[in-house]
């Protein structure tokens, strides 16, 4: 055996060993997709516009207080759309000082001055940054919640071209309304003064204001699980913002019913104390995610701790505590897609996928053996090695095997032997032209190479487009196909050649080959 043969065989053995090593142990290295394992798949869009609205509101408030501090007169400072603030009034006198304020503290905004109107617009790069941040923060918050809820091996990642969608895969959850509520809650807890209510309808609530609500008031509906269905008119401003909430816990009210306990940090406690002291006897509402959860009369000065009571079940209390603890979502979420696959369907799909793979493999093996005899056996060895490498690489990349992935593996089987068919047909042709077996093998491999290369590359090109276009499982299919084809370039051309050389190479006179 010559030297080049030694390293070729060495390489093949190394590849086999590496693949087996990557694949071991099989049940740990190959991740099954949700369609095979059962579970819940969600795609949600983070409504990043809302995050910008909040940011713009904060900036507008900041601007108001700075104007107040500098005793700059203005008529109105309002938010327009999600990324603009408009200042109106006779601003010409103070233009210099306004410019100073904007230059010092509002560098993230571009401003246009127009006499009685100054409008600020968030710089596009800052806007994008804020959007990205809110998506990242949403992802982090959801991860916390899912972890606390105790789902094994969840996948939570960004998805989509704009990067504003989140893909959430939760294996093993198949009756998921509770999980979804948990994920979706923005957990914006607010304490707000009640002006009037409850009303049966929104129209009734508006009646006192002739249908036009003043800017500092807001109509908020009740959460029908806790209170009777209806509406309250609340002050728009929150007494204590949610960020001053220090902790939340399961508690009981004076009758022993489940309730949510909470504590403020020192800043929140001071504010709450001041507010309750000034408003004894009045109504206070607790608003979670824009729904009135509870309304209570302020009976005493409250500072650090409190409880929210209402018609809670123990589970509901636990869930509210969980979302309050995991932090607020920076922006609301919108469901784009949801797929829930039960465990029995997954088990059934695995059985069927395996059957299809074995069936396909068997048919191809039979065909190659019958049609190409010994050479067919050669291609089957190459094919099995191809499968091994394919699985090994998938294990290395921690790829997820789903039903489309299984289809990809099957197609790889069919396409991998194509290279062998091309080579063998070429060898037959060379033999027909009267060449000796050895040079026919040589010519067969050499001449078929570029054809195989071209045709495999075209398949890869379209698989790349498919990868670009597809979501989750379809991406998995494209990846499987690309890996399978790449592996076939090695097995069908290189390995298959080595097997030929090993079989026929040492014989001095070779009159006939089985092909």
């Amino acid at each position: 055996m010559d030297k080049s043969m030694t390293w070729k065989i060495g390489l093949i053995i190394a590849v086999v060993a590496l693949s087996i090593w990557l694949l071991w142990p099989l049940n740990k290295t190959i991740n099954l997709g949700l369609d095979l394992k059962g579970g819940m798949h969600l795609i949600m869009e983070v409504v990043t516009d809302e995050a910008l609205v909040i940011q713009t509101d904060i900036s507008a408030t900041q601007l108001k207080s700075m104007f107040k501090d500098g005793s700059i007169k203005y008529e109105k400072i309002v938010r327009k759309g999600f990324n603009r603030i408009e200042i109106t009034g006779s601003l010409l006198d103070d233009e210099r000082r306004i410019k100073d304020i904007l230059d010092d503290d509002f560098r993230d905004w571009t401003s246009t001055f127009g006499g009685s109107l100054i409008s600020l617009t968030l710089r596009p790069n800052i806007e994008q940054q804020l959007r990205d941040q809110s998506v990242d923060q949403a992802l982090e918050t959801i991860r916390n919640r899912v972890d606390e809820f105790g789902v094994a091996e969840p996948t939570i990642q960004k998805e989509g071209m704009a990067g504003d969608k989140l893909l959430i895969d939760l294996p093993g959850v198949d009756n998921p309304e509770r999980v979804k509520t948990l994920i979706k809650s923005t957990a914006m807890l607010e304490f707000r003064s009640v002006v009037s209510g409850p009303f049966q309808t929104e129209e009734a609530a508006l009646k006192d204001y002739n249908g036009q609500l003043p800017e500092d008031l807001e109509i908020v509906r009740t959460n029908p699980r806790r209170l009777d269905k209806g509406f309250y008119v609340l002050k728009a401003a929150t007494v204590v913002p949610g960020k001053d909430l220090k902790s939340a816990r399961r508690a009981q009210d004076e009758y022993g019913a489940p309730a949510v306990g909470f504590s403020f940090n020192s800043q929140g406690a001071a504010q709450f104390e001041k507010f309750t002291a000034a408003n004894i006897g009045k109504l206070l509402s607790i608003v979670l995610d824009d729904r009135v959860e509870s309304v209570a009369t302020i009976q005493d000065v409250i500072s650090g701790d409190g409880i929210i009571h209402g018609r809670f079940t123990v589970d509901e209390v636990d869930d509210i505590v969980l979302v309050l603890r995991s932090g607020a979502l920076p922006a609301p979420l919108k469901y784009i897609e949801e797929r829930t696959i039960g465990p029995s369907l997954g088990a059934d799909s695995i059985r069927k996928g395996l059957m299809a793979c074995l069936g396909g493999l068997l048919l191809v093996v039979l065909f190659m053996l019958v049609y190409y005899r010994a050479a067919g056996l050669n291609s089957i060895l190459a094919l099995l090695l191809n499968m091994l490498i394919l699985m090994g690489i998938m294990a290395y990349f921690k790829a997820t095997l789903s039903m489309p992935g299984i289809a990809g593996i099957l197609l790889s089987i069919g396409m991998a032997v194509d290279a062998n068919v091309l080579i063998f047909e070429r060898i037959r042709e060379e033999l027909n032209m009267g060449k000796s077996p050895k040079s026919a093998i040589d010519a067969g491999f050499k001449k078929a190479f570029w054809t195989i290369f071209d045709s495999n590359l075209t398949t890869v090109i379209s698989a790349v487009f498919l990868f670009q276009f597809g979501t989750g499982p379809i991406k998995g299919f494209a990846v499987t196909l690309i890996i399978g084809i790449a592996a076939s370039m090695f097995t069908a051309i290189f390995v298959s050649r080595v097997i030929f050389d090993l079989t026929y190479g040492r014989r001095k006179k070779l009159a006939k080959i089985s092909i």
Partner: protein
């Protein structure tokens, strides 16, 4: 073994007009269907809710429909899966249709969840509905974690709760998804003590939801555009690559052949009313990448033959190239055909639209390589040969 003892000598090119006519007819029929009936859009593209439900007892489509009629969903699309008691229920229904808009509407529950929930409770009979109202859970429609949590709430130890939940789910996996009665659970090894808890606090309905899928309406439109774009870009990719490896006119013939394969596949999808979904698009794109392969084999040979057979006319050279590579064109497609066939037969209902599209595409691809790719070159012979000489 050999398909042809000697090199075949079939005259393909002079039958090109028959081939063009046949393909044209298929595509025309497809177009007519496209404009009259349109595609049977899956929820990937149309949006909506798709539920796969399995019944314990033998159930027919009219029976399922009468259940759905009760909740105003009688016009949902119901498909039986094979000959089993499993069905797909597809609906675009909204709350208004369900007459739910005026009942207590939970704002934190999405509309489609209510649709699925409504269908689920519609399938329960009166006795089962009472059990739900009494706070019992349905072991056939509750997840492992939820069952375990529920049992813990009934004063079972963590260990017992988890072990029992696992036995219940495993039993559902091995059955059709529906557990018939409590004795089956007992036989599966749940302790007597726990069985008492289960009998008191849970019940077994006669069906299970195998899967519930929802796609929002805004996704579909976006996806349709993206799917079409992906196919077009892939075709252009092929054109560029072949034009680069061969010559422009080869590339043009190549993508006309490919466009033919895609259009014929789409036509057959329309003929058989196969559901248009993401996986069908995946199959179409795979066909674009795969079906060009045997065309490349032929073009490779053609390029060689054009150098060798300088004196022959183009038609003879084209026929010769096709005949020389005929067994290759057939057998490379055959191996893929065999694997896709296996997928179609054994892979189950979920993957069948993909397998169907691939089957049609592979056959169309093989046929078009033989009857179309070179025929196109013959059609613009004048330009093709001129370029060859220059």
């Amino acid at each position: 073994m050999r398909l042809f003892k000697e090199e075949p000598k079939v005259k393909f090119i002079n039958k090109r007009y028959y081939a063009f006519a046949l393909s044209g007819l298929i595509i025309l029929a497809g177009l007519v269907l496209f404009f009259t009936r349109g595609f049977n859009m899956g929820i990937d593209f149309s949006g909506g809710t798709l539920i796969e439900v399995s019944f314990l007892r033998s159930t027919s489509i009219p029976q399922v429909r009468s259940i759905l009629n009760k909740i105003n969903l009688g016009d949902a699309q119901i498909t039986r899966i094979g000959s089993e008691n499993k069905f797909f229920i597809k609906t675009l229904a909204s709350l208004k249709k369900l007459n739910l808009a005026n009942t207590v509407k939970l704002e934190d529950v999405e509309e489609y969840e209510l649709v699925a929930r409504e269908i689920r409770s519609g399938m329960l009979d009166a006795a089962e509905t009472d059990q739900v109202a009494a706070g019992k859970i349905d072991l056939n429609n509750t997840a492992e974690g939820e069952i375990a949590r529920f049992l813990r709430g009934k004063a079972l130890s963590d260990e017992d709760a988890q072990a029992s939940a696992k036995i219940i789910i495993d039993l559902r996996k091995s059955n059709t998804g529906v557990i018939a009665d409590f004795s089956a659970l007992e036989r599966a090894g749940i302790k007597h003590r726990i069985m008492t808890v289960l009998r008191d606090n849970t019940f077994l309905s006669k069906f299970t939801f195998l899967s519930v899928e929802f796609v929002g309406p805004q996704v579909g439109q976006d996806l349709r555009r993206k799917a079409a774009l992906a196919c077009i870009w892939a075709l252009i990719g092929m054109l560029v690559y072949i034009a680069f490896r061969f010559k422009f006119l080869y590339g043009l013939s190549g993508i006309l052949t490919l466009a033919h394969d895609v259009l014929v596949s789409l036509s057959f999808i329309l003929f058989f009313n196969v559901e248009m979904s993401l996986q069908v698009v995946a199959a179409l794109l795979t066909i674009v990448g795969y079906s060009i392969n045997d065309t490349i084999v032929v073009f490779d040979r053609l390029r060689d033959n054009l150098k060798i057979m300088k004196k022959d006319d183009l038609e003879a050279i084209l026929d010769k190239s096709l005949n020389q590579t005929l067994s290759r064109s057939i057998f490379t497609s055959l191996t893929v055909f065999l694997t896709v066939m296996s997928l179609y037969l054994f892979g189950g209902e979920v993957i069948r639209p993909f397998a169907f599209t691939m089957l049609v595409g592979v056959i169309a691809g093989s046929y078009s390589t033989i009857y179309q790719s070179c025929s196109w070159l013959k059609v613009w012979e004048k330009y093709f040969l001129k370029r060859k000489k220059s």
